[in-house]
Symmetry: C2
Subunit: 396 residues, 2 copies
Amino acid sequence: MRRHALDGVDVIDLGQIYNGAYCSLMLSYLGADVTKVEPPFGEPLRSRVEDGEPPELIMLNSSKDGITLNLKEERGKELFKELVRDADVVVENFAVGTMDRFGLGYETLSEINPELIYAHGSGFGESGPRSERLAMDLIVQAVGGVMDVTGFPDGPPVKTGIAAGDFLGGIHLAAGVLAALYQRERTGEGQFVEASMYDAVYPSLMSQLASYFKDEDVPPRTGNRHSGLAKCPYNAYATSDGHVAILCASDRHWHRLLDVIGRDDLVGAPEYETNVKRLQHIDEIDEIIEEWTRDHTREEVETAMLEAGIPCGAVQTVEEVIHDPHLETREMVNEIDHPDYDDPIRVPGSPIRLSESAMPDIDPSPSKGRDNYRIYRERLGLSEGEIRKLEDEGVI
Amino acid sequence: MRRHALDGVDVIDLGQIYNGAYCSLMLSYLGADVTKVEPPFGEPLRSRVEDGEPPELIMLNSSKDGITLNLKEERGKELFKELVRDADVVVENFAVGTMDRFGLGYETLSEINPELIYAHGSGFGESGPRSERLAMDLIVQAVGGVMDVTGFPDGPPVKTGIAAGDFLGGIHLAAGVLAALYQRERTGEGQFVEASMYDAVYPSLMSQLASYFKDEDVPPRTGNRHSGLAKCPYNAYATSDGHVAILCASDRHWHRLLDVIGRDDLVGAPEYETNVKRLQHIDEIDEIIEEWTRDHTREEVETAMLEAGIPCGAVQTVEEVIHDPHLETREMVNEIDHPDYDDPIRVPGSPIRLSESAMPDIDPSPSKGRDNYRIYRERLGLSEGEIRKLEDEGVI
């Protein structure tokens, strides 16, 4: 049987909503044994639907075991400490200080298990003046500059529709856990790992940071144009049935584009000869291109541009993305049967691909407490009667 | 001296522009020895300025050594193979197939060094119908659904201003390298690692994917409102001098907000009692809030909301983000002297924080070929005369 990178790595996953859950999903897909631990009333994501399992929860918790545990109860704290004793990793993304208030902070847990890697995902991190602030993705996008750089120059700042803070934060946290696992091979010791959403978003402002340091007078928001207004053509152009993104990385691309849109007459035009000159006529050029794209379908434009070797891509709807054969081929979108859904549901695979560590088969995400009886018996040696009693007392 | 997670890990970095360079920057910040290898005419990012070092390049290549090498020359290929013989990791983000065309693909290099971890970042990945396509961040945002879900319902799709594809792809690739390093501790073998920008962006569409599977009739773009239109209030509100993001995660937040804006008269109003009811009056509610925020400064609004415990954050400009004391305290923004700049320049730190692996001191990014003499002497035992000859012949 093929090995997985994280075979034998045991993860206790207090991750919730997007950020922490994504971190442990990646560890699970790399082969770790991940046990999702929810409070008896369920993690916050569950409240997004009245009945059953919300699709977000299903998509972010595949291939995890699921148990319940009340960390506010004394007995719950004891059980948690017992679980941690043999674990390799704890992942959590509660507000800063929450686990300390439970008496289950890193200091306490590392005394019980000095090899433990404790990973904390948060909005603003463990230190710094903003660290105590409540931080959902929208707040991080606002404070982090993402909104300021998104939208049109004459319009308001706009959030990006993707949950950039949650996912950039979550995958940086996963990378931190992996680095700590590697370091532990040398030292035999665990450590505290953290990644904040605000920190994780900052480097992705790269184009705007560069503009700032070049002291150029670039508007904060450039719509679909180049973030530094440093390339032309570079935009999303309207077609008869949607938009298509096109960019010319070289003058050769520009000449080919003129050929595609039937404007060979402009090939020698001195005012459009170089990227720098084209930038001075950016409105004109975008209009010349859109004049042609408007009369064609999205697919016609994309096909023509790609055949000519010009970087181009249709603006796909989410529904098109979900059904993109490319993502299906790459097992990024996997149709699975889930006990809570009549129809098959599509769950993400892992963007991390290792040739010698195949992604494990995807198991459906656990319903609340699905694996209580098995896990508490196998890991802590509790009897069925004891487990039932814990349930009755609201401890699990 | 304190250890770093990746002490002794040797990385040959062909990464360029944003995606690959960010992957190896994270490895460098975790303590790896990273040698940036550029063609003699420099990597593509260098063409963004006429003279000197572009700030993007400086920000993404701190603490790396820098050498030049022409992989199209026979002698260049030989030298590269010699470098790889003792390396742990190669990182590259050329178009799919480029290294194979150089005769330096994974198959070849892994024969020379079976312990080698070879990491490839790309737009669409090594497999699937789109794999050969040219993919810059804009194209991935278009095809990947990021543009479709960003912007206002009555406006066009909008790209997000951050380079979401490059950075999500790059950090997933770094996580893959770290997982492969950990696996190698068990197996003694290297492997091929890949992460594509398109794959990496897909999970971050989580809210829209969930809406799709819930079969709700949510518009693809919701401006600054909740992506699933499932929370109210949740928006960016205009103030007298900018915008502020505010959201109510609970009815308690809503009551406090009414208190802050002096509309206690609405506390008992049955039509606003629950989140579900508020959603039916979303325009009204946003107007009630903005009526108040418009008459106050961004700072006044933020302070009042935070004091009342309501999730809130000012929409900061990039300049404000760069100078945010929070990021400075956390060493996410580090002022360094760079030989090519008169004034100090601010470079990002690492969002990955490990308590037992301090971030190394940040060294200025290398100018093109800065370390040729030292590296070719130290690593390959070449003499000064041999190195000068290689320069003259255009091999390095």
